[in-house]
Symmetry: C2
Subunit: 271 residues, 2 copies
């Protein structure tokens, strides 16, 4: 893959890259569309990266469907799929770690302490292998976006990071490979994420700028859903993820994480 991408670059072609863990949905594919017109070659990676899963997380049962993914990629005119094995990606004695020590700390970082180190590591590796000029990530993983942008800046990767908007199901549920885990009943409960974020948006539209008032309203909304356990609701600056007291349009973002019967779901809304 690396020598292929080197050849492509030597030919003067610009490579666009969408890293994924497979189980592709319209969220991923919208990133392909977003990036495709800006590049000559589109590479999409499918790799369920073990280093970004905690010990008690869902690495083993994470959905994998390479055949289906291939079909979707062919339909969307992805040029190359890169789907390495764990052994190809991680030598048994690998010992290099990348950590981002500011943006990774709170929010999802609190309950997933090594998650963003694993994401940063695999992205650095994939960037060096696939040598993209442009990469795309989904806004659904808002903290991941901030961490990757920071890493790209701090390590001087010569890469433009594009961010695609959250893609939602017909009923407002943010698309996620993990939605496949949800029973009909739990899926119904999961809808409360977007519903409560919409309620927060409405409060802001109506003139409320006090971040705590908005997050309290969202928490209160979510607390009424039986079987839903709240991880966090916060309003932060979308670039540096610092908590904001006053909500600012186009700058503040409300981020939410919950468990619905052990399925972890996240969602967010940019004011």
């Amino acid at each position: 893959m690396q020598s292929l991408c080197s050849s492509l670059r030597t030919e003067g072609l610009r490579i666009g890259f969408v890293p994924t863990m497979g189980a592709l949905h319209e969220g991923h594919l919208s990133l392909v569309d977003l990036i495709k017109e800006r590049v000559d070659i589109l590479v999409l990676s499918i790799f369920v990266n073990p280093t970004q899963f905690g010990h008690n997380e869902d690495l083993d049962k994470y959905p994998r469907d390479l055949e289906q993914d291939k079909m979707l990629c062919i339909n969307r005119k992805v040029d190359y799929i890169f789907a390495p094995s764990i052994e190809e990606m991680y030598q048994s004695n690998y010992s290099t770690k990348i950590s981002e020590n500011s943006l990774s700390i709170g929010l999802c970082g609190s309950s997933r302490p090594d998650h963003f180190s694993g994401v940063a590591l695999v992205c650095a590796k994939l960037f060096n292998i696939c040598q993209p000029s442009v990469v795309a990530f989904g806004q659904k993983d808002a903290q991941q976006v901030a961490v990757i942008k920071r890493m790209v800046r701090d390590l001087n990767f010569q890469i433009d990071v594009l961010v695609g908007p959250i893609i939602r199901e017909y009923d407002g549920l943010a698309m996620s490979s993990r939605n496949r885990y949800l029973s009909v009943e739990n899926r119904d409960k999961a809808l409360s994420l977007n519903r409560s974020l919409q309620r927060g948006k409405q409060l802001f539209t109506e003139g409320t700028t006090d971040a705590r008032k908005i997050t309290n309203e969202i928490k209160s909304d979510l607390s009424r859903v039986e079987g839903l356990e709240l991880d966090y609701v916060e309003i932060v600056n979308r670039e540096n993820l610092v908590a904001e007291l006053d909500v600012k349009a186009k700058q503040s973002i409300c981020v939410v994480a919950v468990w619905v019967n052990k399925v972890r779901l996240i969602d967010n809304y940019c004011f």
Copy 2:
């Protein structure tokens, strides 16, 4: 620098890169010679990297002589010198760290706990800026060589790492920018490093393969030098830096670190 190097690569030119902290000596320049015939363009960086110095170390007094360095580079036909400022290299809120958690631990890592993280970070940044196909490091910094090779492998940098032999002064002292700190008297004491390593070599040539016998002899030799404080003498595998009980030709390396009146000096010998 990055866009220059991108242009050069797009033209199909191979870039060779020698990262340095300046105060150039024949050790650095031998790396230029080593790498030059394999590449089209030679880049040498001069950057006294703050993140690889500990709080009590010699960052402030580290020798800097950019004009002299320029002359030496011109004479050796270096194509580009990259000498960024600290502000250009590190944004005030940089928060990404690279750590190598195996080879960095012992030897110099024991007394310089953040040193190799700083080296790894700046090298990753410089590699992304200068986009070399080949880089060269000096064997004098044996642990640094092992850490960088490991990082290049683990992060999938598409870079060949060449290692140049230790270059010595007429009297056997390993060349180092820090030798400038030595008074005549202390320079004389510093000669004991190479002398004791030669003694170790002699023992091996005479048939001694017991690593401990050799290191004990070296320690004993160094302990007789007044004003010299021993940090470590170890015989390790040159790739993975694991301690070796039996010395093996072309595989084992004897590494030594001392302080001579607060000046830290290292040296090593490959059997």
